[in-house]
């Protein structure tokens, strides 16, 4: 860990030629008006010995020079079709009425690949302070997702785990080709509701997961190591990135047939984490982006994925 911090410090000191086409975070920049973009991306990690992965496609469109829309569709093997049948257990203390509680966290479960749903984000760039070799840009984002997944953990994610809303602010700064971008966004996940047979009676009962509100935050830095030094668009470029990505969230509640069930499951508890994602990007023909990054925990850990977390992306604009 000490060497990681030293590496970060050296990176910050030497990042004089910067790129702000961050692999994982969105900068405050918007798409040019009338331009369409396509991004294919995937991430994966080994949860014990089970490969958990997600694949997605994102269509991007510049409505105006300040307003861009991003429509994503994702599929993953993160969830079963319904909440695990044994999510609620019960005992009969002293032979009396059953006492229900949520089961302990299960890891390494194998689920089939499922369609998660859609995610729509609008980004509005409201501040633009441009100089010849500098700019400060700020943008507001609003996002909504139509994801119906049996997400049995408190940590919310609108892109592929939860239905809900979100909004946030992005600030991107470039000064003498030093680029940094910060994002702070709130997440308001909606409840997940399903009808499932009761384990004792077999009659259908409503099972509801209520997720706590969340925050996601990131700080991204980029360093151009090769290319972009001539006016030739065909000159490929290579950039290195360092992205700090984190999230915090509140407790989740599980309601079984109208009754709030006390939880024994730490995955239902409030939490937070901060990860570091070093990444590399190759831009070909000034338009085709390909990137790979690997995430590791810095403080605490995510409940929804293990480490290392591999992310791949390929992106192109259609002018």
């Amino acid at each position: 860990m000490r060497w990681l911090w030293i590496g970060c410090f050296l990176f910050l000191r030497t990042a004089l030629n910067a790129q702000e086409l961050f692999p994982l975070s969105e900068p405050a920049n918007t798409l040019p008006a009338g331009v369409l973009g396509l991004r294919l991306y995937s991430d994966g990690n080994y949860e014990i010995r089970t490969l958990k992965w997600m694949a997605g496609a994102r269509l991007m469109y510049g409505v105006t020079s300040r307003l861009s829309l991003y429509l994503s569709g994702t599929a993953s093997n993160h969830h079963s079709k319904k909440l695990p049948p044994d999510l609620v257990s019960h005992t009969h203390p002293s032979g009396g009425s059953p006492y229900y509680f949520t089961r302990q966290v299960l890891r390494g479960q194998v689920y089939p690949m499922n369609w998660n749903g859609f995610h729509l984000m609008a980004k509005y760039r409201f501040l633009n302070l441009d100089g010849k070799n500098s700019h400060l840009r700020m943008a507001l984002i609003a996002e909504g997702s139509l994801v119906k997944q049996a997400h049995d953990e408190a940590e919310p994610n609108l892109l592929h785990d939860n239905r809900g809303w979100g909004a946030g602010l992005i600030v991107s700064l470039l000064q003498n080709r030093f680029a940094a971008s910060m994002t702070l966004a709130g997440i308001l996940p909606s409840d997940y509701i399903e009808q499932s047979p009761d384990q004792i009676t077999g009659s259908p009962v409503e099972r509801r997961m209520s997720y706590g509100n969340g925050l996601r935050y990131s700080l991204s830095l980029g360093y151009l190591v090769q290319g972009n030094r001539t006016n030739d668009y065909d000159e490929p470029s290579t950039s290195l990135y360092l992205e700090l990505i984190g999230s915090s969230w509140g407790d989740a509640k599980f309601v079984y047939d109208g009754r709030s069930i006390p939880t024994e499951n730490p995955a239902f508890k409030a939490g937070y984490y901060l990860e570091i994602h070093p990444g590399i990007q190759r831009v070909i023909g000034s338009n085709l982006r390909m990137e790979l990054s690997v995430g590791f925990p810095l403080f605490h850990r995510s409940w929804v994925h293990y480490y290392p977390m591999y992310s791949l992306g390929i992106q192109r604009f259609f002018y």
Partner: protein, 161 residues
């Protein structure tokens, strides 16, 4: 770039207009390409050369098409960037003198701030001083230096260099 300047020296066709725009916020080849593609959509644009290091665009205007500088400036904003400097190489046949300090060019009226008007085929470089053609702080500074009345500041100005 050779094509652009070669074209200007070719006497066989009427002289095209050459516009040079300094563009703020251009930091990578992808950004430059975005600007270039927006500019190329304009019907009066014959060719574009982007200078990534100098953050400049050189635009050759087709002589047989009606040129609107506003559309060129707006193309830069549509790509998500802003204009730092808008210079045009023009000769006497391309504008009409309205009065001693006013001329009409490319569909708009301009107040001449300073400099000598070009005559004959000898072209002159001119800089447009108007909103969105340069940073607002610099526009104010230039107009202050020429003691322009605050009521007239919404007009478009031209500086022959």
């Amino acid at each position: 770039m050779c094509f652009l300047f070669g074209g200007l020296q070719d006497p066989s066709w009427s002289q095209p207009v050459l516009v040079k725009m300094g563009i703020n916020g251009l930091t990578c080849s992808a950004c430059a390409r975005s600007v270039e593609m927006q500019i190329r959509k304009l019907p009066f644009v014959r060719d574009v050369v982007m200078d990534i290091a100098g953050t400049e665009a050189s635009v050759l205007i087709a002589p047989d098409r009606s040129f609107l500088p506003e559309k060129l400036m707006k193309a830069v904003y549509k790509a998500g960037f802003s204009v730092r400097d808008f210079r045009v190489r023009m000769n006497a046949s391309e504008f009409r003198v309205i009065s001693s300090n006013r001329l009409e060019w490319a569909g708009s009226e301009y107040i001449i701030l300073s400099g000598h008007l070009p005559d004959g085929r000898q072209g002159s470089e001119a800089r447009i001083i108007a909103r969105k053609y340069l940073p607002e702080s610099e526009r104010k500074e230039i107009l202050d230096s020429y003691s322009i009345d605050p009521q007239n500041r919404k007009s478009k100005f031209i500086l022959f260099l």
